[in-house]
Subunit: 406 residues, 2 copies
């Protein structure tokens, strides 16, 4: 009888433990997804050649500003026409294309758990959670500044959902951490709470160097092992129009030098920092992206780089960025054509400008995803949780987006 009672107690304990364990919604197993359909290609090959030619004329005749003396030095030594006073760099199109051709078309990143390795390029694609909003929102606590706790909760979600393949930046800025050490604490949280591929910000020399060392240590790797293949990635945005800023260039060059992936994503909003026509904005995006990719290939031939696109239109009344629009869909599809023209992997985003996780948020996100996926994007940033054009990370939206991604 004692034995029976003890068995009953054990069964009760087991059932209580099961009840306490959080149960995730049904989900598909972890896998490396790949597109089955051909991408949508709105522009014919003649049009692509014309976009390419227009971008080449910008790079040859107008030049791009590189606000980083090391970068200027490297480009001058490589034969570019560098004006050290204005920091303007003009590149020859033949030389530029030679550099771009050195970049690998397909990139596999292996995080500390090798089972979570993911591949970008060809038909392979991967989703990352929202990155970088200063604010966070959920129904229970409302809209507020982000904290380390919120950030950690998003990391746990990103780890739990199989449809999230990697973790971009800070899902929400942990404003309660001091900026001088924020990158250390947050990357520590990310490396402890997830075993998926991580991104680190290129915001200065110490930070990206620290980040690379932390990822190396988390993987138990020697420096040589770390540099033998991509283990992490960063993302840089140009300061459009036609300008690359100091900290991002610095971080990108340090990452490229150690064989880590750099996504170059010009932030060219049509009607704001770029021409109001979508094709005009893509010409500019293309010039900014290729100029930075050429620099990184000069730093290290064959460095893993990705062609990024953030081209969308702005609301011409308020100046606010608009996402999930027909213009955004076409911009992603044409950007995908350009990336394939240069044989580079392609990054797009799941963005929306809605104020709440409502119908507008969902249709804008659905159309953003449609634009990204029909454009053949290999890396989809902000795939879950983004609201208000990137000002807020929403827990509810995270779950809604994961439903759509699955």
């Amino acid at each position: 009888m004692d034995q029976a009672a003890s068995k009953r107690r054990a069964a009760r304990r087991r059932s209580k433990a099961a009840a306490a364990r959080p149960v995730l919604a049904d989900q598909l197993p972890w896998c490396q997804p790949a597109y089955l359909d051909r991408p949508v290609e709105p522009v014919d090959s003649d049009g692509i050649a014309r976009i390419h030619d227009a971008s080449m004329r910008i790079i040859e005749d107008m030049g791009i500003l590189f606000l980083n003396d090391t970068a200027l030095q490297i480009l001058a030594e490589a034969g570019c026409r560098v004006d050290f006073a204005t920091k303007n760099v003009r590149m020859d199109r033949v030389w530029l294309m030679e550099q771009v051709k050195k970049a690998p078309p397909v990139i596999t990143i292996t995080p500390r758990n090798p089972d979570r390795a993911i591949t970008f390029g060809g038909r392979y694609f991967n989703f990352g959670q929202v990155a970088s909003p200063p604010n966070v929102t959920d129904l229970d606590h409302g809209r507020r500044m982000g904290t380390r706790e919120d950030c950690r909760n998003f990391f746990k979600l990103a780890q739990s959902y199989n449809c999230i393949h990697f973790s971009c930046g800070y899902p929400v800025e942990p404003m309660d951490l001091h900026p001088s050490t924020r990158h250390l604490d947050t990357l520590y949280d990310k490396l402890v709470l997830t075993d998926k591929v991580v991104h680190a910000y290129s915001l200065g020399p110490d930070r990206i160097a620290d980040a690379m060392e932390m990822v190396r240590l988390a993987g138990g790797l020697s420096s040589a092992e770390f540099e033998a293949q991509p283990r992490m990635f960063t993302n840089i945005n140009s300061t459009s129009p036609l300008k690359h800023d100091w900290p991002m260039l610095d971080g990108a060059m340090r990452m490229a030098a150690r064989n880590q992936m750099v996504v170059v994503a010009p932030f060219t909003l049509a009607g704001a920092m770029a021409p109001v026509t979508i094709v005009g904005a893509i010409v500019q995006q293309n010039a900014e992206a290729l100029a930075a990719i050429a620099l990184l290939q000069t730093v290290r031939a064959g460095a893993p780089v990705m062609y990024g696109a953030f081209t969308s239109n702005v609301d011409m009344k308020s100046g606010a960025p608009a996402f999930g629009t027909p213009e955004y869909i076409r911009a992603m599809q044409i950007s995908g054509q350009m990336a394939r023209y240069y044989n580079l992997p392609f990054r797009a985003s799941n963005a929306n400008a809605a104020q709440a996780p409502d119908a507008q948020a969902v249709w804008e996100s659905a159309f953003s995803l449609f634009g990204s996926c029909s454009g053949g994007a290999n890396l989809i940033y902000h795939a879950a949780g983004w609201l208000e054009g990137g000002l807020v990370a929403s827990f509810e939206k995270f779950v809604i987006d994961c439903e759509m991604l699955q």
Copy 2:
């Protein structure tokens, strides 16, 4: 001074009138939309030929039930193997394809206002509002049975929104009208409140004959003028599996005889009335659709007919139809391939199974629209206002859908 006062009064009147006038959200002008992108085609030509062959074997070896003696008589006279006891009809595939080839690939329907003529086929497509739910819902009055007033309100919305190109059936069933005269009152409302293309139900001989006469009179047409070109359309669903019912066949034959368009849309839910695999369900859909189209071409060679598809999957736990699923998207894309294989215009739907106009409703609708449009559908039924798998028409959802359609 009197003059100035009178001017002020006139200005006040004008401003009051402007305030009283209902202001619609900004919308694009009325136009005939056309696809710019190629449809997505998941199945290769060998696969299409195999689906065709499997459907032919069903029609040749198993046969389709036609629960209508006139139809049986016509098919027997045309040489089909008709079993009058079981009402089963087996057709020879060569004869069948000869009939299908008589159907026009592109159809223009001209309503009472010729400026509202719309074209189905090729790259042209058109949206219609929700049809046939018994219930209606809005935030102010909740979920309730439909009335004539609700129905009229939907007609007014369908007329006001330029992205709604035609008016299918009853947007909600007017339960306060007696069934014996409901079709007369409702079609009267529709013809008075809209000048767009109308659909009438094939629910018995008097009803469809009445409907055709009403559309003829509304257009001020002689019988010869009415029959000279398509002026309206009907939609018939098979009683899957492999059965066409009496009233729908009767209505369809009367419409075809007078050169009016018939959409044949088998209601083949995979796992319920059709095989659980999507391709299996499409084989059955294809057999049911082609058999009815062959009958209508025998009634009148060259009668305007459309290939319809409603193939989706059911929730295997509850048996409820599921829409906006990956299966639905693939079903619409493959159905579009089949319609183009037979050179017929293609009908799909914007459907969802959500209980409220919430995030689920929007993402299911967005994916339904994506499936329909990437499948190259020429007619999109239920494009605005459908909820609960067709049990409810929602005013809020109508407006949300119109935002997406635009």
